[in-house]
Symmetry: C2
Subunit: 353 residues, 2 copies
Amino acid sequence: MTPHSLLDAILRGAPPVRRRAMAKAITLLESTRADHRVQADALLTALLPYTGRALRLGISGVPGVGKSTFIEALGLHLIGQGLKVAVLAIDPSSSVTGGSILGDKTRMEQLSMQEAAYIRPSPSGGTLGGVAEKTREAMLVCEAAGYDVVIVETVGVGQSETAVHGMTDMFCVLQLPNAGDDLQAIKKGVMELADLVVINKADIDPNAATRAQAQITSSLRLLGFHGNPERDPHDGELWNPKVLQISALQHQGVDGFWAAVCDYRRLQTANGRLSLRRERQALAWMWERIDFGLKQAFRAHPQVRALLPQLQADVAQGRIAASTAARQLLAAQAGGAPAVAHATETAAPQPAL
Amino acid sequence: MTPHSLLDAILRGAPPVRRRAMAKAITLLESTRADHRVQADALLTALLPYTGRALRLGISGVPGVGKSTFIEALGLHLIGQGLKVAVLAIDPSSSVTGGSILGDKTRMEQLSMQEAAYIRPSPSGGTLGGVAEKTREAMLVCEAAGYDVVIVETVGVGQSETAVHGMTDMFCVLQLPNAGDDLQAIKKGVMELADLVVINKADIDPNAATRAQAQITSSLRLLGFHGNPERDPHDGELWNPKVLQISALQHQGVDGFWAAVCDYRRLQTANGRLSLRRERQALAWMWERIDFGLKQAFRAHPQVRALLPQLQADVAQGRIAASTAARQLLAAQAGGAPAVAHATETAAPQPAL
């Protein structure tokens, strides 16, 4: 299949043809072969005018919080409303463990049987940046194929929440009702990203869930997650993170969740924040990939490779200032400077001083 | 003064000679002239073995919270205990406004008159990274000159808190007692960095201060700022951020603050976290400067300069995928690829498809 016929099948194919074309396109985008990469870039550019209409929804939460059950309940609810739903994932651990989330579709058995659902496991291997790039590109394929909601799931590993936040319109954090408990184990900095906090399994202990809802709401407010001081007075009304209770297993509260998502989308469209967020995300993504490429070339440079291990050890041990080491390494790559003797030879105080 | 005599004066000069040498050394380190930079790097490397014994303390808080009053009270308290105190600052706005913090020493009138105190305003101009680098290097000069405590002050502008957190052993956030109030205006993400939260001006409304202390303590716990799930079970006891009340103006609670700092230092030394933090900071600093240098060279490349404005606009407007643009720009710098026509010419769907 050529990229042109692939594009045609994604845009206009009958459901089974379209699904096969999507899978092929995503596989092409995930390929690291140089000739594939050229085709993949041509495909991406051709797809792009058909993207951007979907709602991009990030879902995060620690293992055991019930992410799959929630996504399945939400997906079925949306399909019931006539929407098409794609589910992607970012799981940087999948290269090591073979995938801890979405590795098998049986976890979302009912949803995966729906014609209006498309579920793709996390790309595996490589850096988080690489995995995130493949997921971003897969998202564009889903959008061009007419999916109305693209859900990107992640589990709290490394910086994966930041990556998902950086590619979605709305970032939701799932919590358990025992919020006051140390077992909660939410990662520092994740709540900062939340546009919506969902207390799942609220039916197990309704009192605890209500307490957690009140506590999290006031904590978000107290720690500056509401009322951003950098807000421009000319902005329209801004969104303040909300905290909801649901029970995905009982299918309770999923409609309320979706109503909050729709409120958010309406507000962010009206105040211009949705397009601003996407524009910033696209530029940040470009610079993230440029940074990665520059650093990769830097590390591969023969002079840098020769100097880096010793200089890195010297910096870690405090034998040379970090800024001095950085200047030496940059000069080595540029080839403009003579090879520099490493720091330990000059770091010792000179008795003559 | 040669770098060698400068080093000697910093290490062994009588107080007035030492102070003049410190000022000269910091000015040399701040210079952008290439020949000065070579001398500055030689000086830094020679200073380094005499650094690292000071406690590095970051202080942040919004304007009006009383940072200067607090730092002055703390500085005088420490000098009363026979310690030498240096106060540096990072104020990225200073290049625009001429300096909003520490621009004039009269703000810390009593402290600045002490022989055991050294106060230096924020370096001005350039990027935050550049300003932070100069402050880091000035910190090393202060340490070599025998200062026991180096305080780095910042005001909540841009990413300056992250920069100060990245160069200090302990990061403290000052708050007002009206914590529940939206006027608090603390920036999203700053509390995440705090090792110690200080409620200043507690004497104005003791009840509000006590309420704020309880609320902030439980919020920090609830939002995952305590009990890091990534902690290694083999770690010793870990520090949990504390919340204290003081009144700097009344000199109340400054001794309690210092006791908490000493507790922190003892614990972080015992569990190995202090040296680990410094090692990570030094390596992160090195890579931050390398990244900056690589990106500067990238932006200055003629082929990149020719393509960047249009590609950046195409990415922002969604006419080309960010990853495709990044690959085109990297190829342009590497010189390996032909000049690429910009995206708009190929983005429109081909009717033949």
